[in-house]
Every structure is written in C-alpha cells, then in structure tokens.
C-alpha cells in the first residue's frame, strides 16, 4: 500500500524497484536467518542429521522428488480431495448461512447444531467415516467437507445478518421484489464475509485432507509424508512437507487475488492485499 502512495508522489521507476527489492528482503531475511541457524545445527554436529536433516539435505531430496512423479501424483490426489470437499462446502455452506439469516424458523433448528459442532475437531470423525465410506476419496472428501462447511456457514450468516436495513429499504423503494433482494442486496453485502469464511475453510481443507490421509489412505501427500516418516527418510519427509506448504501458500494467494478483484468495491480491498 505504501508503495502505491510513493508511486502517486512521483518517484522514479528505479527507485520503486529498489523499494520493492528492499521490501521483499525484509520478508525474506528472517526466513534466511532461520534456515542458516537450522543448517548450522547439522553442520556443526549439534544435532544428528538423521533426526533433523539440514535444509541442504532437504533441498536435495526436494529436487529428487520434483523430478520424479511420486510427489506430483500424490499432491494431485490430495488437491482433488481438498478442493472437491471445499467446493461442496462453499456451495452448501453459503445456502445454509443465507437460510439461517433469512428464516428464523430454519435458524432455530440449525443454529444449535452449528454451535454444538463448531469446536469439534472434524478429524476425530475420520474413524467413523472410514466405517461408513471405506478408505479412499469419498472418506477424505467428506472429512474435508465437514471441516470446511461451518466457517462458510457462519461467515455467510453474519454477512447477511449485518446488511443495513437502509440498503434493503432503498432497494425496496426502488421496486426490488423480495425474491430479488437475496441476489441483489443480501448476497453482495455478505460477499466480503463469505470470502473470509472460504479463506478459513481453505486452511482447514488442507489440514483435514492431509490428516485423513495420514490416518488411512492408499494415496495422497499425507500418506507419503507418513510413509517417509515411518521409513526414517526424514529428508524426504521434510521435502514433501515443504511441497505441501508451497501448494497451500499458492492456493491461499490465488484465492486472495480472486477475492481482492471481486471485492474491489469494498473498503477492505486495499488491506486484504497485504
């Protein structure tokens, strides 16, 4: 944001590039420092690298993994599970949230259920889901779906409920029918909150997909990490974790980009970018 202000105050192109590089360094410096410390633990034999492989060893393993198809295949399995569950959760969660906000009767039935199950770690249900759906995609997708559903429901509900009466009244006085109010007023108003809910749900989706795979699965990056750990190949295990972190980070940034574009009208549009 401050960079954009500088831009407006007429700084030269090279000065802006220099500022950008400095800003990037400020973010990267702590990470580099952390990696150097970590590396020195192994290099100076303070910790056995069999238990805590150094960043260099992990990097080598990561290079090895990326050239093969093992990690690609397993990550795509996990991604399909995470995004299918998340997608289903967004669609049904938004409607449940809208229903709760718009119908007091519906709310009186659903709201106690949401309250009671909100703090339940959904991974605790995985043994039960295995019993119902067996080991495989369905089980993992249902687990992701259940964990991603509630953040979307709750945020949609709050976004719709917070719609100022004057917006609804203005629309009504301009001839908007009650049916159209939902699409033209309530949902657009709730959109920033729905995006917040989706962002939280995205985080949950990755965590639960990986956990479900670690508990019981024949494929997926969670299982791969678990297998490497079981076999004591900690450098490969860490490399797989790093690849998950990268994928999750890219997914979150992509979502943020879409959100910022869709919400460019919203007051938080600038803050969200950071």
């Amino acid at each position: 944001m401050d960079l954009r202000l500088l831009d407006r105050h007429g700084l030269s192109g090279t000065a802006i590039v220099a500022m950008r590089v400095l800003a990037a360094l400020r973010i990267l410096a702590p990470i580099i420092l952390f990696l150097l410390l970590w590396q020195s633990l192994g290099s100076f034999h303070l910790v056995d690298t069999a238990f805590l492989p150094t960043p260099v060893l992990i990097g080598r393993a990561l290079g090895d993994l990326l050239t093969g198809h093992e990690i690609r295949d397993n990550i795509s399995v996990t991604l399909v599970r995470a995004f299918t569950g998340l997608g289903l959760a967004i669609v049904t969660g938004a409607w449940l949230g809208v229903g709760m906000a718009r119908s007091p009767v519906f709310r009186s039935y659903v709201s106690p259920l949401v309250g009671a199950t909100y703090s339940l770690p959904k991974t605790a249900l995985v043994p039960l889901l295995i019993l119902w759906f067996g080991i495989g995609n369905t089980m993992a997708i249902v687990a992701v779906y259940l964990s991603a559903l509630l953040p979307v429901v709750v945020h949609t509900y709050h976004g719709v409920m917070a719609t100022p009466p004057v917006l609804v009244w203005s629309a009504e006085a301009l001839g908007t029918s009650r049916r159209k109010l939902l699409w033209q007023i309530f949902l657009p108003h709730a959109l920033p909150d729905i995006f917040t809910g989706i962002r939280i749900a995205l985080g949950f989706a990755f965590v639960v997909a990986l956990s479900a795979e670690m508990i019981a699965s024949t494929a997926g990056i969670g299982r791969l990490i678990f297998l490497y750990g079981e076999n004591g190949s900690y450098d490969y295990m860490f490399a797989a974790v790093v690849s998950v972190v990268l994928v999750a980070f890219i997914a979150d940034r992509a979502l943020l980009g879409v959100g910022t574009w869709c919400l460019r009208w919203h007051a938080s549009a600038v803050d969200v970018e950071q």
Partner: protein
Amino acid sequence: MTTKIRICGISKTYLSDNGEVPALSLTNLDVNEGEFVSIVGPSGCGKSTLLYIVGGFIAAEGEVLVDGKSIAGPGIDRGVVFQEYALFPWLTVRRNILYGLENREYSPQQREQIADRLIGVIGLKGFEHRYPRELSGGMKQRVALARTLACDPAVLLLDEPFGALDAQTREVMQDELLRIWLETRKTVLMVTHDVNEAVYLSNRICVISARPGRIVEEFTVAVDRSIGREQVMLSEAFNKVRNEVWLSVRRQAIAAETQHGFAPA
C-alpha cells in the same frame, strides 16, 4: 389543492428489554400535492420512525394513504433518501443510478439517457465508474438523490438527508434540492433537526414532541425562494418563522431532557 399523503392516527411502540417503548402516538398529518413539509423535533422523538412508516418500511398502528389508497409496504411512488446515503457499495455511481430503472419498463437507451442526464444534474461527470467508497459525503448524497430521482417518484421522503455533511456542503446540497423541487414540484416530506434547513426549504413545518412523538405545532412558511439564499436568510419573514420554530423545538428538547432523567431511551 389535493391531498397527496394522509397520515391517520399513526402510533408505534417498540419492544425493548425494559418493556414497551412508545415511539409515536396518534399522529395525524396531511401533505398536499407539490408541498414541501418538514418534520423537526428533538433527537429520539420518533421523527425518522414516522418517515419509515410513510415509506412502508416498518408497520404501525393507524393508516397511511397515498393518493387516497392505503399503503401496504414500500413502493416506487415514494422515493427515499437516507442520512447515511445507503448507496449500494458494490455498484459504481452509474450502476447505482441505473439500479431502480432496471426494475421498470424502459428501453436500455432510455435508461442510459436518464442516467446521463442525472449524472449531469448532480455534476458527477467523470465519476460514473467510481465506487461509493471513493466518493466524499456530499458526492455520495448527490448520487443517492439521483438514484431516487431516476425513478421519478411522485413523493420524496428525506430522512435527515444532509445531516452527515459539513456546513458548506450542506448549503450547496440544500440549494440543489430547492432547485430540483422548484423544477419538479414533487411532494416532499423531510425529517431534519436543522431548523434553518427546514425553514429555508419547506412550505410547512411540523414540530414533534419528545417521545412518544406527536405533532404539537405547525408553522407555515411564506417566503419567496426565487430571490436567492442570502436574501432569503437575511429577510425578516425568514427570521421570524425561524425563531418561532427554534423556540418551539427548544421547548420540546427541554421537555425531552427532563423526561430522559426518569426513563433513558
């Protein structure tokens, strides 16, 4: 003169944690076609409530008739402008103005023409594609006014329309409203706490008592408004009515304060 709005025995009670709070009590008011009527009174006297009832946004005891017909809810015959602008933040200036037109039987060209004309009237050419958050308070209120005028309602309901603006912008906006009213002669019902504003703009002023609100006094303003703001506001006729209304509102405000001592709202 024909009666445009007839307010018959309106009462409104709100439910709160401390029981029932009477907001309005048996209010009667007739507004003639083409008349500009202001409602002034101490804050919390239920004057906005009365406007929301006429708008059809909240239900109340009693009856509101527009053109002799009882209202059943909000309608496009009554355009409304709120103090907090109430623009749709996800729509650009232009789309906000077009919003009400899209519910009506205009051709796309007609819609665009109306929008073009109104953007010109409110002086926001070049800002058509901005979002409301990028506008100042005065600009937002201009857009809100244009959005309401686009649908050409017979009645304008104004809820402290300039209350959130600074003193200079407020005067500019009052003059614009006056100009639009003189041109279109719409029936206007405005709620305000600004006595000068009420006297400057209205044909008639109703003073509402402290809660439960009730119309206690009425003043007719016979001022020639074609002579310009300075001449109007410095004229004896203006200041005589202004002082009378001010004293009346002051009496109600003092009554409200002593009342608040016993029952804070």
